[in-house]
Symmetry: C2
Subunit: 295 residues, 2 copies
């Protein structure tokens, strides 16, 4: 009982002494970067608790919330990534790592639905599998900042179907609307996919409860995911967003102006770039993917 | 691609715009306190990411770490509390809620081992069950800040055995070294327990890995847990720590000077306070538990 009646300086000092003790406990961390990150984590975490004067009940609610996030997370569902996404932490991590030259394609969130081992698709092939949606022709080049092609660049693409689900959310575990292909000798790529449509992030778990409590929509702006890699180049994780859609809101804050592109709709009677005549509307878009060299 | 060559102001502005967007998304949260807490959480989380310039790989390591914490947590093991404890967040939450008058017993961490529905023990009874350790007589009073007794106060006590384990860590699920009792008409309590011994917090999970990476000991200073409640009074969660032990280090930062008490050792030939002659050494301690009124 070292306090006296409501002396704010004593209270302040006790709180700061605790921060200092925790930081001191990290002083022998051999990995310098880990020591830096943990020290900053402790300082910001304690500053949060002190700023809001967190109550014991609120702390318990936080523990319970994180426990629910942990328990709903499995091989197919990554609620921690979802949590990071809706708090903007994923996008801030990407933003602080932005290419300072601004000459490469901007990155955005990877999201929780990327899978290793997607199917190989030939150039001009179809990634959609049996996922439902409007056919969409996507083409472009993969280049470096000087505009030189990057032949053989590996391009992973994945997206939701027009019901708003990724294949990993299907009950039967089948693969659809994802694949990988390799750019040709001129760095060109082309494939059939689905015209992106808006969809909600999974809202039936704790992160959905958080969004509901904040009266936030779980909707993501329509997008097609890319992950592009090439030896010697920094791997690019990005989306294409659809121009003309209501881009005012994205539940994970992933929109960047440079990634909003035209998806041009065509009538079913118009021949496709690969010479088909589809008996339904389809769309097309093109985008140049510019990779940065590994620093 | 809105950046130009390495303009720090543009970079700074982009990062701050993102923080602003996330904060703005919380503006319609109906619960004012929730809005305040979430807004501060976002601001401090983003400040952490920006300060350390968190890399994508480090973000992924963080996601993986939290996933492991979530998956090891179950009814019997609460790794999120353990994580909060070793980062000092639990103790900081308690510290910001300290009774400003300083006239009540100081609180400390609840830890991950409290259970509802502990066995009822009569005054003067033994909470230790078949847990191993040196018998220890614990007695005192439960009072308010004016020193008036609080008859019928409920006192929960729990502790580790001298191998360093709580009963919930036993393979067979039996209950030992925990119980609850009620203060008598004069607010007095007395019971047999075990002399506290140092023990490591569970170090075979992700939090143990974190401590190892920081070269921190998982050892907790020897202590006996109390949770004391009475109608109209603020529930007190605290420990008694053992004077004379090496109190330099506690892995969860729970030590407070006012909670360090003498545990006086007695020879087996000396009669106990309840008139027994044990054929082994035993210890005794006493402590006055002072509760605050509910504000």
């Amino acid at each position: 009982m070292t306090g006296t009646d409501a002396d704010p300086n004593i209270q302040e000092r006790r709180e700061q002494l605790l921060v200092d003790a925790v930081v001191a406990s990290l002083a022998n961390t051999p990995d310098e970067r880990l020591r830096t990150v943990l020290t900053a984590l402790v300082e910001h975490l304690h500053a949060f608790i002190r700023d809001v004067r967190l109550t014991g009940r609120e702390w318990q609610l936080g523990i319970d919330f994180l426990t629910r996030v942990g328990h709903i997370t499995d091989d197919k569902r990554q609620e921690f990534i979802l949590l990071s996404d809706v708090l903007g932490a994923s996008m801030q991590t990407i933003t602080v790592n932005d290419d300072p030259t601004g000459r490469t394609t901007e990155a955005t969130v990877v999201g929780p639905f990327f899978l290793e081992d997607s199917p190989l698709v030939e150039l001009g092939g179809d990634i959609s599998g049996d996922a439902s949606g409007e056919p969409c022709w996507v083409e472009g080049r993969v280049v470096d900042v000087a505009g030189r092609p990057l032949p053989g660049a590996r391009i992973e693409v994945w997206e939701a179907d027009d019901h708003g689900y990724y294949d990993v959310q299907y009950a039967d575990g089948r693969t659809a609307a994802r694949g990988h292909l390799f750019a040709d000798d001129e760095g060109r790529y082309r494939f059939w996919a689905l015209t992106p449509t808006p969809y909600p992030i999974p809202a039936d778990g704790p992160v959905g409860d958080l969004l509901a409590a904040a009266r936030r929509s779980p909707t993501r702006a329509p997008h097609l995911h890319f992950m592009v890699s090439h030896p010697g180049m920094r791997t690019l994780v990005t989306h294409l967003f659809v121009a003309g859609d209501d881009m005012g809101y994205d539940s994970v804050f992933g929109i960047r102006d440079s990634l909003i592109v035209d998806f041009v709709r065509a009538r079913g009677t118009e021949p496709t770039p690969d010479g088909q005549v589809l008996d339904r509307t389809w769309a097309r878009t093109s985008f140049e993917l510019v990779l940065a060299p590994i620093a």
